[in-house]
């Protein structure tokens, strides 16, 4: 939650600036001989400003892996500093608002809402890594609002993906431009609709469509079309989340011919997750929550290929079993164990601990 640096007596009268943030420390220990690692994976600061009651600025600056260092011969992974969101928000009414700047593609669940206390598991779901390339943000503009009771929409035009970065292993992930001197030549459209039939259930559907080839006839159209659906249900301490996404890439064979890559024609992934808050059973008066959970993921970044054989390593399953302890709604202590396997019968496991916060 943001902390007001200055407070107004009348909400609409004065400018205010807000800060906030979130972060997460991870311990990952692969099964076997490899040693575990402690990593403050994400440290994020929000900065927001309200110019008046209609117009505000919102931003999110992220430091990943604590510091930036060269990826040297020792193989140390360099960290990253990135602006993940920075946009002007002009809120005309509950039916219509407009955003312009670096904005999030409104796909799936985690890409939009990724504060660690909002999801189970130390690591974000793998589907939200390689199928929905979280955090997916680009320079763009568009509109949002609600058009009926219980229904809201978002519709944005944003800089597109680039064919050069598409890959067989990580799907769309490497093709994001992330508003770094990004090309406007692949303008793309993305949007979503959310429906909340009651306080227990939230349903969402989202899409992204755009070319990746900047009109280069050697690469073809390279149009990426992605559709996603999600459902979140909670009742009597039980929470359930399901997310699915399917992406199709046209002319993948031409892209592969030019870049010598192994981009698939089709990619898909989905996961289902169930959790139950057992704290009321342990201590009825407690305001803490303790939720054991299980998440099952299935994803294939080479679901359909042309001109070569799909790599079975990319047809993957991940099962995550663990628990999330939340002393407050915005702090979390997490533990889980993950089972990774694929169609090539390579099986690995990993133990994870984590802490996370947002404010």
């Amino acid at each position: 939650m943001f902390i007001a640096l200055s407070f107004t007596l009348a909400a609409s009268a004065q400018e205010t600036t807000s800060i906030g943030g979130y972060g997460e420390l991870h311990y990952n220990e692969p099964d076997g001989a490899a040693r575990g690692t402690l990593d403050f994976h994400r440290f994020v600061l929000y900065l927001g400003h309200t110019f008046n009651e209609k117009i505000s600025f919102k931003s999110e600056v992220e430091i990943e892996h604590t510091k930036i260092e060269a990826t040297g011969s020792g193989g140390a992974e360099g960290g990253e500093v990135a602006i993940e969101q920075a946009y002007l928000d002009w809120h005309f009414s509950e039916h219509l608002g407009m955003k312009a700047g670096i904005i999030l593609a409104p796909i799936g669940v985690i890409n939009q809402i990724h504060e660690p206390p909002t999801f189970n598991g130390v690591e974000r779901p793998s589907v939200d890594d390689v199928v929905i390339p979280t955090t997916w943000r680009e320079a763009g503009a568009g509109i949002y609002g609600s058009f009926a009771e219980n229904t809201s929409y978002q519709l944005y035009a944003m800089a597109g993906l680039r064919a050069e970065g598409l890959s067989g292993e990580e799907g769309l992930r490497g093709s994001r431009q992330e508003a770094l001197e990004s090309s406007p030549m692949n303008p793309s459209i993305t949007g979503r609709i959310d429906v909340v039939p009651n306080t227990d259930l939230k349903l969402g559907a989202s899409f992204f469509v755009g070319s990746t080839t900047e009109g280069d006839s050697a690469l073809g159209s390279g149009t990426v079309g992605l559709v996603s659906a999600n459902a979140q249900y909670s009742t009597n301490g039980f929470t359930f989340r399901a997310v699915g996404a399917f992406a199709a890439i046209s002319d993948a064979d031409k892209i592969n011919a030019v870049y010598g890559n192994d981009v698939a024609d089709q990619i898909y992934g989905y996961y289902i997750e169930g959790a139950y808050d057992v704290m009321p059973l342990l201590c009825a008066e407690s305001e803490f929550s303790l939720s054991p959970f299980i998440r099952c993921e299935k994803f294939n970044t080479q679901a359909k290929v042309t001109g070569f054989a799909a790599n079975p390593l990319y047809d993957r399953n991940v099962t995550t079993v663990g628990a999330t302890f939340k002393p407050t709604f915005n702090t979390a202590f997490k533990i889980d164990y993950q089972f990774f396997n694929n169609a090539a019968d390579v099986n690995t496991k990993q133990l994870n601990f984590g802490i996370g916060y947002s404010f």
């Binding site: 939650m1 943001f2 007001a4 407070f7 107004t8 007596l9 009348a10 909400a11 609409s12 807000s18 906030g20 927001g48 400003h49 309200t50 009651e53 209609k54 505000s56 919102k58 928000d89 002009w90 809120h91 005309f92 009414s93 509950e94 219509l96 608002g97 407009m98 955003k99 312009a100 939009q112 809402i113 909002t118 503009a141 568009g142 509109i143 949002y144 609600s146 009771e149 219980n150 809201s152 035009a157 406007p184 303008p187 959310d194 909340v196 039939p197 009651n198 306080t199 227990d200 939230k202 979140q232 909670s234 305001e287 709604f329």
Partner: protein, 179 residues
């Protein structure tokens, strides 16, 4: 891309030129919905003392950021049927302005969101969320996530409105003999 930008500019100007009703207009319309179209609505300002503000803050974990508040009184046939309180609570960045109607039994008649200015979390304006407050009184703890259900993706707004309504109920309890 150019045509899209033109479209967005058109939307911006069209939307900004639309007439907007004031918070007071919206509050009165909300109270008519709660207490009947024929209800007469008057309002007056009530000053809160330092000890009253402290006492409410201690019980509600939410503090009035001003020392006077506007109280709407709704009456029908020369008889008071309810009260209305307008308040602002902080969402993620912007303030949320909401109306709480309380009947003469000290129970919430309804809650109405008069202005929601964020791009996320607007689900708190949905009737399915707001109706959870009906008939709640100061005897109810209104614990977010337990007594009032959370909506995924709107947690900050849900908590802000829930603690705000509890603050209003406790304020009503303290002031009811003097309203």
């Amino acid at each position: 891309m150019k045509s899209l930008l033109c479209f967005l500019c058109f939307i911006a100007f069209a939307a900004s030129s639309r007439g907007q009703s004031t918070i007071e207009d919206k509050a009165k319309a909300g109270l008519h919905k709660m207490f009947g179209d024929s209800a007469a609505i008057s309002s007056s300002w009530r000053r809160l003392s330092g000890s009253e503000i402290d006492s409410i803050a201690q019980l509600s974990h939410s503090r009035w950021q001003r020392d006077s508040l506007q109280v709407y009184v709704c009456s029908a046939h020369q008889k008071t049927v309810g009260y209305g309180f307008v308040d602002d609570v902080k969402g993620k960045v912007q303030f949320i302005t909401y109306l709480t109607g309380i009947n003469t039994d000290g129970k919430v008649q309804d809650v109405d969101i008069l202005a929601y200015r964020e791009s996320y979390g607007g689900e708190v304006a949905y009737e399915s969320f707001r109706r959870q407050f009906r008939d709640k009184s100061s005897a109810d703890k209104l614990i977010p996530g337990k007594d009032i259900k959370n909506i995924s993706g709107a947690t900050i707004s849900v908590r802000a409105i829930t603690t705000g309504v509890r603050k209003i109920l406790l304020t009503y309890d303290l002031l009811k003999g003097t309203l």
